[in-house]
């Protein structure tokens, strides 16, 4: 970090950044405040603050749809798939980072290729597989696909991290008669915490916002995730502005709050991944 020299430079800096911040935040702010307005007010005073913060759009939205179900589905999918991504990729990363075995480098590159190749291009076959396994129209199909999608980045970040853990630690435990799984769970996993957090953060937003796979693999209302519900309900109520903005606000408020609370860890985790990527 280096210090700007002149007052003039500093003024320029603030003017540009404040304008940029307005461009970034105002649309989001507009979306949230409009959700609290009645339909008439939206057209009369579209940009003023709402006269009274009115929850009727939200109440109506929750009445005509099953947001509790959509949120439950989205949370279940995100939590289960991220947890399994962490377990599966830390197990594999540990072996790849610490053991010598045939095809080790090939396997590492095989996993990393998934960073570059979008799984979306295999959707035709994924749909066929899910129909055959009777997971079509079931969130289980989403969980499986998201795990496959998250493994490359997980292995990438974790292998790098485990390599830096000194081998002496595990060797001391081995001499004490510790079994390999116990070394992994009792020594490696606690040390891995920051890297695991980075992988979880890296995967959370793309998984939470995933729209392509729900659109193709999910049909019935009770299996909808939040983004799928957003699209379906937006199409259905397009002309009722108050309701539409409530739909958008409900879809984005949880992520916005999550980001604002955790923004420090977020940026740290993502930059760690970014630097390595």
């Amino acid at each position: 970090m280096y210090r700007p020299k002149k007052i003039f430079t500093l003024a320029f800096l603030y003017i540009v950044l404040i304008n940029y911040t307005i461009i970034v935040i105002y649309p989001i702010f507009l979306m949230i405040q409009t959700a609290f307005k009645e339909n008439k007010e939206i057209f009369l005073n579209p940009y003023a603050l709402p006269q009274s913060w009115d929850f009727s759009n939200f109440i109506k939205l929750f009445k005509i749809s099953d947001y509790a179900v959509y949120f439950r589905n989205s949370i279940l999918v995100a939590v289960i798939s991220i947890f399994l991504i962490l377990v599966i990729s830390s197990l594999a990363s540990y072996v790849i980072a610490k053991y010598e075995f045939p095809l080790r480098n090939f396997l590492y590159i095989y996993f990393l290729a998934g960073l570059m190749i979008p799984i979306k291009l295999g959707t035709v076959n994924i749909l066929q597989i899910m129909v055959k396994l009777h997971f079509f129209d079931n969130i289980v199909s989403l969980i499986i696909v998201y795990i496959a999608m998250g493994i490359p980045i997980g292995i990438f970040i974790l292998t790098d991290f485990i390599r830096e853990i000194p081998e002496e630690l595990s060797n001391v435990a081995r001499i004490d008669g510790c079994s390999e799984p116990r070394i992994f769970f009792n020594i490696i996993i606690p040390l891995l915490r920051p890297a695991l957090a980075a992988v979880a953060i890296f995967n959370f937003v793309p998984i939470w916002n995933q729209f392509w796979f729900p659109l193709i693999l999910i049909r019935s209302n009770r299996m909808w995730t939040v983004p799928l519900a957003t699209a379906q309900l937006y199409g259905q109520y397009q002309t009722q502005y108050g309701l539409v903005f409530a739909i958008l606000a409900v879809a984005s408020l949880p992520v916005i709050v999550f980001y604002l609370i955790l923004s420090k860890q977020f940026v740290k985790g993502l930059s760690a991944g970014a630097l390595k990527g």
Partner: protein, 311 residues
Amino acid sequence: MADVYLKKKKNKRYYILIFLLPAIIIYTCFMALPLFNSMIMSFFTGEGLIPNQFCGFENYVRLFTKIPYKERFFNAFWNNVKFFLMVVMIQNLGGLFISILVTRKFRGNTFFRRITYLPTTLSVLVAGFLFCLILNPIWGLFDKIFVVIGLESWVRPWLGDPSTALPAISFVTGWQYLGIPILFFTAAIDGIDKEIFEAAEIDGAGIWTTVKHIILPLITPVIGIITILTFVGNFTGFDIIYAIAGSTGAPGYATDIFGTLFYRAAFAAKDRGGWGIGMGATVASIMFIIIFLGVMFFLFIFKVKGIRKKK
């Protein structure tokens, strides 16, 4: 001691397989194989979910030479190229500009840094729907700004006019995803040794010289990574077009890109632009080839060494 350790390690070799197996099975069955099988599927034709008549390269010939296939395909290709060029300009130039500003030392820089990533956490759908409303000529905020500053002649249905729809969508994508290049660029600029900047300052180097001779050469690989990420993202992009222009890339296919073409071809009903699973797989295979060649090209241009760059 080493002996004991080696012996133990040999006894425990079956753990290697057990630890690796879950990752190998899931990754292979639900990522690598589907990709491969989809390519295979492009050599088949027939009705239903699993086409079973082998037809060689017939699907490819149809895609490149027969109407309406070739029309839709080349239209999507050129739209995708334009879309990519516009977004990659916004991402690299805008991202670099903001990053150079926020990596300077001043009160509030952490606030500005964090705020830049906020739109990126939104779902693409929400951003798309939101800007549909903002760019709407009757109600929308965007045209109101022109009216206020006296440029009423600029007011237009940005998303309804075929000549402005794709640039407008590129702007929305740029707005949403600028956080990613900023994150990468700021991490890279923060990683540059502070002494280099101090030395430059002592030598009397201005901001422009510092950017041109210190920052730019050191972050060229990052520009390469941003370009590749944007390229892959845009050439498989779908959500933003679906949200703003629907699955046919309205108005009149002016915003139809590979993502929407693939969706329609493979998964839509026949009367809504569906071409059957075999043709859908063919579109996916061509997308795969284009993305593969593109990534290789950018790796070469930016001399990014493999997937891993030096820290």
